[in-house]
């Protein structure tokens, strides 16, 4: 019984550690963007280069994050619902037929926020926890996705 209890604690600890590794995702746009909220499927279509423009006609600039970044994996699995090789194959198909190009990658969250706050046609995904209170007013969050 006691052994079971220890196992239970270890399991909880393991799960909670995993939980800590996962991040909530915020989809952000410029404050002038007419979109106030959206859904996962639309965000997926945007970040797969299928949707080219916002409803106001402005062509979209996609901002991504480096592949090694944990938020990137979370975004790919939760929003795009693709494995890494699957996504690479997809972009090979899109890029070499000239249909679309992958998101422009930016290293730091504050760099992304700064870019989106200055670009009316930009859209990006960031780790919600890295959004500082003073940055809230400079961008607009149109979708929050909780990690699984």
């Amino acid at each position: 019984m006691r052994r079971l209890g220890i196992l239970k604690i270890l399991l909880i600890l393991t799960l909670s550690q995993n939980r800590l590794c996962l991040a909530d995702i915020a989809i952000i746009v410029n404050t002038e963007n007419p979109i106030s909220n959206t859904d996962r499927a639309t965000v997926s279509n945007i970040f797969l280069g299928k949707v080219k423009a916002f409803p106001n006609g402005e062509l979209i600039t996609l901002i991504g994050q480096p592949e090694a970044h944990p938020i990137n994996k979370e975004f790919r699995e939760t929003v795009l619902k693709k494995t890494e090789p699957q996504l690479h194959s997809y972009w090979a198909r899109m890029l070499f037929t000239g249909r679309a190009k992958p998101p422009r990658s930016m290293e730091e969250t504050h760099e992304i926020i700064k870019f989106v706050s200055n670009s009316s046609n930009a859209i990006a995904y960031i780790d919600t926890n890295k959004l500082k209170p003073e940055e809230h007013d400079s961008i607009k969050v149109i979708l929050e996705i909780k990690s699984k």
Binding site: A41, N45, A53, T83, S89, R93, L95, T97, K101
Partner: protein, 453 residues
């Protein structure tokens, strides 16, 4: 697919200088004009990307099978290296240039095996509105689901898409104009594309009045696709046939070149040039109206992959095949390993029109008989062989391909496909060269390293 961006020097820094530092001089005017210029365009940049596939192919036969593959391992079929540059001229206009070196295996009478670098894509993409765009220039034929990325093996499952269907694709590249429309209905994307091309002429042959359309519906997991194309093909002289300069090059597609090439090598090489000329002229190789249709479906839920295409090619000439082909592929991703199985079938559908015995009353073919009889008298070919020749253009085959894709590292994969082909029904099985009629089955092996970067 990482795109390296080469930023050109920005003019904005000049424009942001405090006005007080500027003098009302020629320099100021020049700087102002520069500012206007920089505000007229989005920050220009050029992006580079590339792909490479090194494939090794072989078969268990001495004669050439698909793509000229025989028992000698060769790097030429299915290998390709490409570099693409994309220049964003402004936020609505992009220029894409792609130079590819594709491997061309020597096929009978077509010359040497080689890597032939050429411009495969060179077009301006104009995003006219949220839903509409145009492409002007050179791009790849979208007749089939993967026909515009055949060179980029990294983009799909097999080493090369199933030959049964892809050998029927009427061409690979197009010089012309394309209008693309897309519309979203909830999470479904409806796509419509229509294209027209300039007339194309090559030595002794030409393509005219070419146009096509593609209709597609897709969401996260499903893709449904219908396409149709039509054009007129003219082959002027028998020498064009005999040399088959466009087999397997991209200009007329593998199907036409190889079909004609197979005819040559089965029988026509034994005839004298005058006889060939006589036969060819009477078989009306001018303005052959060709129509192509295809249906496609793809499913991918990140684990299970299903892909299937059916295609049909029809033409008014008895000289070229009417053909129908299809395949079904099922694959499953186990992390980085994706085993897959493909069943495919292809057959000519106008065999009756080439039945030798049917034409004994058809005067249009009398010169063919006469020419062949001449040869018969010279002891080189018989009318029985003539019948054999006509029947030899009927084709049939079925195949099963077992393959494995291993995405062992980022943007790189190793692939192995083993294809078993049988059920030839006494035909040549769409092969490049005359097959040994006693062979009941043929194996083709393809191994590849492929990458996109």
């Amino acid at each position: 697919m990482r795109a390296w961006k080469v930023a050109t020097p920005s003019m904005r820094s000049l424009c942001l200088k405090p006005a007080s530092t500027m003098r009302t001089s020629l320099i100021t005017i020049t700087a102002s004009l520069s500012c206007l210029a920089s505000f007229s365009y989005a920050e220009p940049n050029i992006e580079f990307s590339g792909f490479a596939t090194f494939a090794f192919s072989s078969s268990n036969t001495e004669y050439e099978t698909d793509q000229g593959i025989n028992e000698d391992w060769s790097i030429y079929p299915n290998s390709a290296v490409g570099i693409q540059s994309a220049a964003n001229l402004n936020d609505r206009t992009r220029f894409i240039l792609q130079i590819e070196g594709r491997g061309h295996q020597e096929i009978v009478n077509t010359g040497q095996s080689e890597f032939e670098p050429d411009i495969e894509w060179a077009f301006v993409h104009l995003q006219a509105s949220e839903t509409s765009s145009f492409r002007i220039g050179r791009f790849q034929n979208p007749s089939l689901m993967y026909s515009d990325v055949v060179s980029v093996s990294y983009a799909y499952l097999w080493v090369t898409p199933p030959r049964e269907v892809y050998q029927l694709a009427p061409d690979t590249r197009i010089d012309g104009l394309s209008y693309d429309f897309q519309y979203f209905i909830k999470s479904w994307q409806l796509g419509f594309s229509i294209y027209g091309t300039t007339d194309f002429e090559q030595e002794n042959a030409s393509i005219e009045d070419r146009a096509g359309t593609v209709l597609s519906l897709q969401n996260d997991q499903h893709l449904f696709r219908i396409s149709a194309a039509k054009f007129k093909l003219s082959v002027d002289t028998p020498s064009a046939i005999q040399n088959s300069p466009f087999c397997p090059t991209k200009d007329f597609g593998i199907f036409f070149g190889c079909a004609i090439s197979a005819i040559d090598n089965n029988t026509f090489n034994q005839l004298n040039p005058d006889s060939i000329s006589s036969i060819s002229n009477k078989l009306s190789s001018q303005d052959m109206k060709i129509e192509f249709f295809s249906l496609g479906y793809e499913y991918d839920n990140s684990d299970l992959i299903i892909a299937s295409e059916l295609s049909e090619l029809e033409n008014a000439s008895a000289f070229l095949h009417d053909s129908r082909a299809g395949y079904l592929t099922i694959g499953y991703r186990f992390n980085t390993l994706t085993p897959h199985l493909t069943l495919a079938k292809a057959k000519t559908t106008d065999d009756r029109s080439r039945n030798f015995n049917q034409y004994t009353h058809f005067t249009g073919l009398n010169p063919v008989y006469a020419a062949l009889d001449d040869q018969d008298q010279n002891g080189s070919v018989s009318t029985a062989e003539a019948g054999s020749y006509l029947r030899s253009t009927n084709e049939n085959r079925e195949s099963a391909t077992l393959g494995l894709r291993w995405d062992y590292a980022k943007r790189t994969a190793l692939k192995a496909d083993f294809t078993y082909i049988n059920n030839f029904k006494d035909s040549n099985g769409f092969f490049s060269e005359a097959k040994d009629p006693t062979d009941k089955y043929v194996w083709i092996y393809r191994l590849a390293f492929t990458s996109a970067f």
